[in-house]
């Protein structure tokens, strides 16, 4: 059973979103996603300053098995990326919701947050997928 922290928002494509005190949002992939991918060996992060629309490809995570797109949960601008993933992509396996974060965005429409899934709703998505 995978971990789904109650204080985050989620997407059907297995990204999570955390609202930071400064109004930026932090994005990563869920525990379920990292488990499905297996050992991560490479992460292609976006460059800071890039503008993305909701559901645009934001990053690529590669496990030994396969490459997988990470989609931006919200529209906005990339303000920071997790440089530590270059040498330690396995942080995503170890701590998907902490040191395994991928990017921080400034959302262009903060209200869009409410369109994302709650932890309970994301749990239902996983149930439907047969976890």
């Amino acid at each position: 059973m995978s971990e789904i922290p109650g204080d985050l928002r989620y997407t059907k494509t297995h990204e999570w979103v955390r609202v930071l005190p400064d109004g930026l949002v932090e994005v990563g992939i869920t525990d379920h996603a990292q488990h499905a991918l297996g050992d991560l060996v490479f992460v292609e992060v976006p460059e800071a300053g890039r503008k993305v629309a909701a559901r645009d490809p934001l990053a690529v995570v590669e496990s030994v098995k396969a490459a997988s797109d990470v989609y931006s949960p919200l529209a906005g601008e990339v303000m920071a990326v997790n440089g530590g993933l270059a040498s330690e992509p396995e942080r995503i396996n170890r701590e998907p919701y902490a040191s395994g974060w991928i990017a921080r965005l400034r959302p262009s429409d903060a209200a869009a947050l409410s369109s994302l899934l709650s932890a309970a709703d994301y749990g239902k998505v996983l149930e439907a997928e047969g976890e």
Partner: protein, 370 residues
């Protein structure tokens, strides 16, 4: 729902992540795939390969059939227990499958055992039956057997402990432990071969299905790691071994698949299926060859990525992250004579890779200069 091996329930109990592989529900990894890989390079791991097809071929024409059916020369198998790796070709020289043939000895005619890939076993069997129609041979598919691969530098020690329990029935364990590479022994109801798909020492053991879960647990209890298809793929690729359906198939011939060494054109009189097509290729020279690539940039090479070389374009046939080398490696089909550096199109970016001669890793050691 896919087909299941006799070890399916055990895989489930062990928490394996299961995937469809050639119509079979197989474990891809149990925990960390990279740790499973390292276990095989450093100590020992066990794989379920019961999805592969085991076919016994016997009768007066058994050898004659195999002489025509496979591109390597079965007459190299002079003594009982010897094994041979070969391709089985179609008339145009394309690879129908790769397989291992074992010579099991003579009793009222020669007996051979052929082990083929899971994804091709039904097609192979139909093809072999068709070629055998006019011949005095008996073909028996041994679906009642499980097949496990015990691989790694500690494999022989772990096999010794496993055989000490005597589950195999009559037969001196030393006969199995003394096997050389590509030799096999029948020990009671078990058939033990010193073969594998990892580039390490190891054994492949065919046993009655009922024995397999107990043998697996006994190996686990001795510290042997359960390993899935994920680790099997990274291990074989580091060892420079082809995967059927990826690195070669019906549309490619052995000379462009790194498998020239498995084709026996001598003696010239042996008219194996595909021979004349291969002779035509040889007369012209193969236009493409299979090489190894080591990625110099950061990223991961994957099958189907485009290779840009001085002599033209090629394709990655298998690519992965090598846990031993901690960088990406691949097999690629490129214009013949491609050497030095090439570029690989990885999601629109041209990454630099170095052309090398596989294998990349053998017996736990890197063969690639850095």
């Amino acid at each position: 729902m896919g087909r299941r091996t006799p070890l399916f329930d055990l895989h489930h109990c062990l928490g394996a992540r299961l995937i469809d592989f050639g119509g079979w529900e197989m474990p891809v990894n149990y925990g960390s795939q990279i740790e499973e890989h390292h276990a095989v390079r450093r100590s020992a791991g066990v794989f379920d390969v019961s999805h592969m097809g085991i076919l016994d071929v016997r009768g007066p024409d058994a050898q004659g059939l195999l002489e025509v059916l496979i591109a390597n020369d079965v007459r190299k198998l002079r003594s009982r227990g010897k094994a041979l790796y070969s391709c089985m070709l179609n008339p145009s020289g394309g690879v129908l499958d790769d397989l291992i043939v074992y010579f099991l000895g003579e009793d009222s005619g020669p007996r051979f055992r052929v082990v083929v890939n899971a994804g091709t076993r039904d097609r192979d069997l139909a093809w072999i039956r068709e070629q055998a129609r006019e011949r005095n041979v008996t073909l028996t598919e041994r679906t009642e057997l499980a097949l496990i691969a015990l691989q790694g530098p500690a494999a022989a020690e772990r096999l010794r402990e496993l055989l000490a329990a005597g589950r195999h029935g009559p037969g001196d364990p030393e006969r199995a432990l003394g096997l050389k590479s590509f030799e096999a022994e029948t020990l009671g109801s078990w058939f033990i071969a010193r073969t594998g798909y990892t580039g390490e020492d190891g054994f492949e053991i065919a046993m009655p299905s009922a024995d397999a879960p107990q043998a697996w647990r006994a190996l686990n209890a001795r510290g042997v790691a359960s390993c899935g298809l994920g680790a099997r793929d990274t291990l074989r690729l580091e060892a420079g071994m082809n995967l059927y359906g990826q690195d070669m198939d019906e549309s490619t011939h052995p000379f462009e698949s790194g498998l020239a060494w498995t084709v026996a054109l001598e003696p010239g009189g042996r008219r194996f299926i595909g021979r004349s097509a291969l002779e035509a290729v040889l007369a012209e020279g193969s236009k493409r060859e299979l090489v190894g690539l080591v990625l110099e940039d950061r990223g991961v090479l994957r099958a189907h990525q485009r290779v840009i070389a001085a002599g033209g374009e090629g394709l990655v046939t298998s690519g992965t992250f090598s846990p031993t080398l901690e960088r990406s490696i691949a097999l690629a089909r490129v214009p013949a004579g491609t050497r030095g550096r090439v570029q690989v199109d990885v999601r629109g970016k041209a990454l630099m890779a170095r052309v090398v001669k596989p294998p990349f890793v053998r017996h736990g050691r890197s063969l690639i200069s850095t």
